[in-house]
Point group: C2
Chain length 343, copies 2
């Protein structure tokens, strides 16, 4: 029996099971990739096709949908924390809701370090304990303390509320932490916010994180990049038209989607912290990811790109539930990268 992705990673694979129309036709006969682990091959085999869900139109519809959509993610976040014996505490930092996430054991090299997390979920979803899914993956995988920011989000709060929150928390954390020992990270919308927060910190002349991890980031909210078309039907994320673009529009509010703080691929970058980027060959955000990599490299940023064969959007995060070789490998890359760049 096929499980739905919804039951695995409800908001990270954000429109899995909820995409309004889906063209899988042309990829029906694509076999399991030869180069993936048996474990990940099983994840692919168990994957159910997305089902259609209409895009909410009113504030009330968005709120109702958000609540319904996030419920299983919240349950999963809590369950994962328990499973990995990761403790978490809700704290207000600079008036912003956060989770302070502490693994069972902090690795020796990470004792003095702090990782700041911006969760994914198309800017609208993935809040509350949903955010623990990725935060636990990193906290447990690396053995590091994480502060996960439950930033304000649509439908009530459009841009720049989320960035105001992330910058406020960052500023507050600077009082007790050396930025050279701090990293900033996130996946999908969280990858966007990781980049945008860093741009905003630069605007404010604030100390930057020592290194970033931006996983399959949404970097162009204004234009539909190529892999959204070329890989459609291969990624449970579904498609961009409908819910995904609707959520992005909601997040942008009155600000043009091409604004660099919404679409970091348009940023005029001169310098930037070392940045690790992850995507997959079946990831609808592959183009968003590799374009951002090129923007960073054009500015000679130490930007490291890792692409996993056969993986769709944020598939590496399945490792939070059941470790598989490629997920372990991503953790290994992240650990090596942060050990290289963090004090």
């Amino acid at each position: 029996m096929k499980s739905t992705v919804f039951s695995l990673l409800p908001t990270l694979a954000l429109s899995a099971a909820i995409t309004s129309s889906m063209a899988v036709a042309n990829h029906d006969d694509v076999p399991t990739p030869v180069g993936v682990s048996a474990e990940f091959g099983q994840i692919l085999a168990d994957r159910a096709a997305p089902v259609s869900v209409p895009t909410p139109q009113t504030l009330q519809q968005w709120q109702a949908f958000q609540k319904k959509f996030d419920a299983p993610g919240i349950a999963l976040g809590k369950a994962l924390a328990e499973k990995h014996q990761v403790s978490y505490e809700q704290q207000q930092i600079a008036g912003v809701d956060t989770f302070v996430v502490t693994p069972k054991q902090i690795a020796k090299e990470h004792q003095q370090r702090l990782f700041v997390h911006l969760h994914g979920g198309a800017f609208v979803f993935g809040g509350q304990e949903s955010a623990l899914r990725e935060a636990v993956w990193i906290a447990n995988g690396l053995g590091v303390k994480v502060v996960s920011i439950d930033y304000r989000k649509p439908p009530l709060h459009a841009h720049p509320a989320a960035l105001e929150d992330s910058v406020a928390v960052w500023k507050a954390l600077l009082e007790a932490h050396d930025p050279q020992s701090m990293a900033l990270f996130g996946t999908s919308a969280g990858g966007n916010l990781t980049l945008a927060t860093t741009l905003k910190l630069q605007q404010h002349d604030l100390p930057l994180p020592a290194a970033l991890f931006t996983g399959t980031p949404a970097t162009d909210l204004a234009q539909t990049t190529d892999s959204w078309y070329t890989l459609q039907g291969l990624d449970p994320l579904g498609q961009r038209d409908g819910l995904v673009q609707g959520a992005m529009d909601l997040y942008a509010g009155e600000t043009p989607l091409s604004d660099p703080l919404l679409s970091p691929v348009n940023a005029n970058i001169e310098q930037f912290p070392p940045t690790l980027l992850i995507s997959g060959t079946r990831d609808l955000l592959l183009s968003d990811t590799v374009r951002m990599h090129r923007v960073l490299r054009a500015a000679d940023v130490d930007a490291q790109l890792h692409i996993y064969d056969g993986q769709s959007h944020a598939d590496y995060l399945h490792g939070a539930m059941t470790p598989f070789p490629e997920s372990d490998d991503a953790i290994k890359e992240l650990n090596a990268f942060f050990n290289l760049h963090l004090k």
Copy 2:
């Protein structure tokens, strides 16, 4: 009027215009990628669909086809050398045919360096002055002297003839050159041979190149990796069944296709020179490339991956004819990488 890719890069885009059956149907409506330069967008727009050509069956058919297929590539190689005022000289080194390729001006940092080139063309094509196309791109782009090896190839010479030739040339060059000042590089089949030659040098306990560039390498000749399926119809390379697999089989001869010297993705790598890999999001060998990147990274090799949005197999080499921003960017990455790792 649409030009054929054949007229641009006959053997590097090796089965362009010669693939036996081509499924473009499902990608007919994919727009030009939003993130590419106007110049590269024009290359995409001018691209003609591949036409069918049957796979040769006999020795005589292969020889006749090879001759016919390589003729425009040879003419183009010569024309590009003239255009860029790159001089070249046919030399036998250790009994192997080579071209010693010298740019108009050797860059200051590359004065003492030598780049060794293994050309592409599905192991069967791309020999003689065809090889100059990539050799000139590198020699002129970086301002460096290149020795391009016109290794023996099918249908007369199967594996390991090509590797015997590359190793013999390498050994001979070592007599007058410091391997720490030498790089090895190639695209497609040449990327495979770059990896396989390095493995062979390790087997012989010979000094290795200081760094490698392997562009969109064929790394799994035994299994059809995922992007051959997922991106079919988007890459003028066409498809794997037919001519491409036929050429690989011919190259392998009696050796199993899974042998690491044929399929480097199966190599048991412990150490390896720093390696730069290039592919594109529409490259049928994207999976071959990223899988090899992971194999290298699993051994903690300094392996740098660069993926260009919207590019198909070896598209960066179009820069040898008409420079475009992404091709210049690849040259910049290569130069920075080799300056970092070569003495």
